[in-house]
Symmetry: D2
Subunit: 366 residues, 4 copies
């Protein structure tokens, strides 16, 4: 309830601060018997690891995950999977200047107002480092979903004004290009744009899109636990996200019903499908069998290399120049975080859904 | 967990179908001792009542609320407030044709795939009528927030391509104009646009904005229960919403850090405030004392007066012409629903927040 | 969180006061497609209905249940099942004297201290009438469990010092004898004991036992949601219960390990079973395939026909003589309540359990 | 939901197995600003540490706690407090024989049936070692409660047939005697009894009582989150507990209303108090200002030094002789666990209770 736990059957609890000794995740409710290896999780963590390109922070973190419980002889046991990532390169001294000063665009002021005190080192709990714990847990969910033929793939759709061209879409590029864009040309333009931003001591935001393919129809719950509502919450809980949309999203507000409705028809195998997918794979909060499409809009990194105006804890105006090491754009590193939050949400909904029909319950227990 | 309950301390459970005998809300955890009158709640329900203008459904529903528990001698008692609204004008026969046929853009298909059966009359549980129960509960939250100087006000920002002009903003118009726009000129244009849509047997979507003023800094919780994440979930759970944004929202993705950061400064009374409000009143998931701004993007009503292609339960292609009585645009009636979901979310976060500091707990119990 | 909702997948919310217009239950998460009839539920409500014998209150309540949602064409739809029971025979005037006076053994004082005000009519929310809502919901759970071959049967084990003799055990008597004992001789003795109590203006408590047969091994969850912990909570939440035990319960504290351990062996069909059942069907919080046995210890009704000492809201000593109409012993009417709380808890655990193994999840979605 | 998390505002998640690398606790929702030191927590852990007397297991565990998050400059920050305890003396080889064999009285069989596989080393997740994590978290709750003048004190009431004499009650002895009894004479008798049990290769159970003094009236919530229901669940979730009672508990079933009712009167300062405390400090699920009294009945340790009959995973009968190192009675070490579970439950209820009255909410935010 205090906010570090999410999910219903599959519950993720994260803990840890940017400059504390470690951070971690406890994933409870994961079904027993799945094969699991630390390398599998590590591969996901490596995707959000800092220091990988010219457009990410120079902070060096190995981000090595260690599984402390819930796995026995290479398989999940059904008990909580506890994972820890030790913090290495903590230059807390970079934050001495910020001790009593509120950085614009950060959570310093709001944490101080809520709690009366705060861990000022690198944002403490509000740091994007917290998402490493989400990725550790999400990697396990992604792995399990893939065994059911469900692929969760996020990518960078835009960095600042540079957007991908759908016609160039090449999924293989997502994991190789520094922008995590599936389009080599857009990648080049985005890098050029970032170079310009960085030269000006500035930062950029962007857009992450996530596509889930292979999801069966019928997943999600009515009313408050609609699949889109659960996804919106899970994705909006990632620090820098300022908007979430499903399918046509904001554009749907401009469309007419006759344009926005997706007609039902039969595919070549006689299965009911939608002719179009303006809905983004969800109708009435429940998956409709089409690809699930969501987009997260990310604000520009608030830590910029320019003097900024602010106020300190004692209510005095201050000029602030943030040193530290910061991502000029968090979008490429956040791609895997969106993917992981989507996967955890989808898997949780699928587990809950197993109980939706009396006939299935009776069959299970007969 | 099955989805009809939302909230942590303040928990709302709704129940009921479009064409069943009644629908209702149970609001648990509301503090004891607040004065409450059915008229207060009724006034809110009247704002979303059908049949009020040329651009809403002709279905006639009195939507009279009756309080069945939790209020004694005009005050809340701390126990669950149960409210019921009886369904009156249920022309279920309108739905006979739709019995085994999936309406495009509706939840017919997804409910059928999830549950194996469905109440086909008017969408059953997935009907927008369910939101009447949310409004009954939300009205109580709005009333309590206003006693704390917190105003929650939503309005229509756009209908299709017609958007309000901020310079014309007159809040008094929201409750009087049929579009719920705070701009008389935009209202006229929107009505003209709707007339054209309706003449073409078509429908429109739009945008609802909600502004919360007077909210103190420090409300909301870290990580998964960020105030924006909770609001995104609460608002996205309203049937037709396809995108939710906070503050500059999608536009933040295009801005640079130096533009998007809100500098802190002192106001004339020496209090820390933000110079601008790109953040929309939330930093790190916690309110920052500025106005909280959110926007919901609403899709066009899927029930249109045109022949549509679809498939039936037996997997046969069908031509469908929806009779019934439908809103050509749901935006004006959904304004109060967004307001209510925001109010419930904010009040819940404020209740949780009372326990955030050890000093406050010690003071309370000393 | 405020306490009127229980369960994880299968969630019951109850609402209503003793002397308000109605009380009710909302049961969410119940699987779709089960046949359901009001008569089935009514039969359970009739078991706890007042006015049925010389040892229950003379208050007359028809306790007619009405289903308002979640059932369509005789089957559950997967959406919340809302049920309402209107209060009829509300002689609130009986409670005028008690308006500002705290009845010993009741919740008057504690509600007043918690909320600052209270509905003084018949205990308001703390009245045992609230359990009618639990029975309405529980009846549905019992019905579904019986389709899986699981029988939940509670009975009166003791009234005051009169205990049943296991050798006389005849389950057919439970529903016919006024004490709900499965032993005609003990029933007679108990009635005689109650006659004596009532003649003295006094009341009695007793013991309810609940046996669940046919429950498969493997139901329940580790650590905090152990099946016995969930049952203890569900049963202790019934107003007058002061102790809950599983299997040998309190007696286990006196036994030695060699006596208390239940050896595993094979039954005639070669299945693993326990030779004895000191554990009461639960090991490590998970069902072991033996009968699940629990007992609830019920305190004597606090409303007695004798003058009692108390204090009023203004802190003045008072002599109190409770008029009204009260059960001299609540045990017989509480039997069905224990049964229903056990059934709801078991069914919820069974639904959660469907997700325990990866192989089952994979099979479900293949 | 999967069972490793408990609480509403104050949420404890535990993780870890008996013979894994470590176990731990994540305590979320703890108010910010409380001073905290590892030594304070360590002192509690030392009370349940093995190897401290002739009647506890010879397993040697330092049980050193390390705080990994949520504390900054010696104070809680409001974010999750993560604590880890590394497992040291893991003689997993002792468990090789038990690999495919179900120990009577343990959770081996039920975990196997639920999950299809299990960590057989020392009970894995079902081991009593899990309670170390509870104690780490509970120590923090106990410390905070004591700042509010609330003392939570548990002690051994009985070991097998040896019960304490109330007249000898000396709380100072609880922390010094090996039995955790507050009675030196009973301690001697209990040690003699245990010596006899151990000589016979047998084990014993017992009774733990917990008294909470200084708790204000008004704490707890109606219906399903009654304070006694929450305590019953929290305490029953401790592995070996087979019964929980409040106040007179099981004895209340034998009493008459005139005996069991606690009259209200005024104390010397004119405050409303109860003349007696049969209720054990809870009326209608809410604290009444008297001492809160609860008792947990503990079964004898199932690991005994005698040959036992059992069955293996392949359904073959087996003779079993458990080697390993086991507590012949877990009662003395479980005392602090009961204390901690009670403290966590009480503190959570107190946090929730801060929101019970509208006047308090208004005052907080004015």
């Amino acid at each position: 309830m205090a906010g570090s736990t999410i999910g219903r059957i599959l519950q993720l609890t994260t803990w840890g601060e940017s400059h504390g000794p470690a951070l971690g995740a406890v994933l409870d409710g994961f079904p027993a018997g799945m094969e699991i290896r630390e390398e599998m999780i590590q591969a996901y963590l490596d995707r959000r690891k800092p220091g990988q390109s010219a457009i990410t922070t120079a902070r060096r973190e190995a981000d090595r995950v260690q599984i402390l419980s819930g796995v026995f002889e290479g398989r999940t046991t059904g008990t909580p999977i506890s994972m820890v990532i030790h913090n290495g390169d903590q230059r807390s001294k970079d934050y001495g200047d910020l001790k009593d000063c509120f950085r614009p665009g950060h959570a310093d002021y709001t944490y101080f107002r809520k709690y009366g005190l705060r861990d000022y080192r690198g944002g403490g709990r509000s740091s994007a480092r917290e998402t490493a714990a989400r990725v550790a847990a999400g990697a396990i969910a992604v792995g399990f979903l893939s065994q059911m033929g469900i692929q969760v793939q996020a990518f960078t759709r835009a960095i600042g004004p540079v957007e991908i061209n759908e016609e160039h879409f090449d999924p293989a590029l997502i994991l190789t290009l520094p922008t995590a864009m599936p389009d080599a040309e857009a990648n080049e333009k985005a890098l050029a744009y970032m170079k310009e931003c960085m030269a000006a001591g500035d930062s950029s935001g962007g857009v992450i899109e996530c596509r889930i393919t292979g999801l069966p129809a019928g997943i999600g719950d009515p009313v408050f636990y609609k699949l889109d509502a659960a996804l919106a919450s899970a994705v909006m809980s990632i620090g820098a996200v300022k908007a979430v949309e499903i399918g046509d999203g904001t554009a749907a507000a401009l469309a007419r019903g006759s344009e926005n409705n997706d007609a039902f028809c039969l595919d070549e195998k006689g299965r009911t499908v939608k002719k179009t997918n303006h809905a983004g794979g969800i109708l009435g909060g429940i998956s409709d069998g089409s690809d699930l499409i969501l987009r997260a809009y990310i604000k520009p990194t608030p830590s910029i290399s320019r003097e900024q105006e602010t106020v300190d804890e004692d209510g005095r105006p201050r000029k602030l120049f943030i040193k530290g090491r910061h991502d000029p754009v968090v979008v490429p590193r956040a791609v895997v975080v969106v993917e992981c939050m989507a996967a955890l949400t989808i898997l949780d909904a699928m587990l809950v859904n197993m109980t939706a029909r009396a006939e299935n319950v009776l069959a299970f227990y007969s």
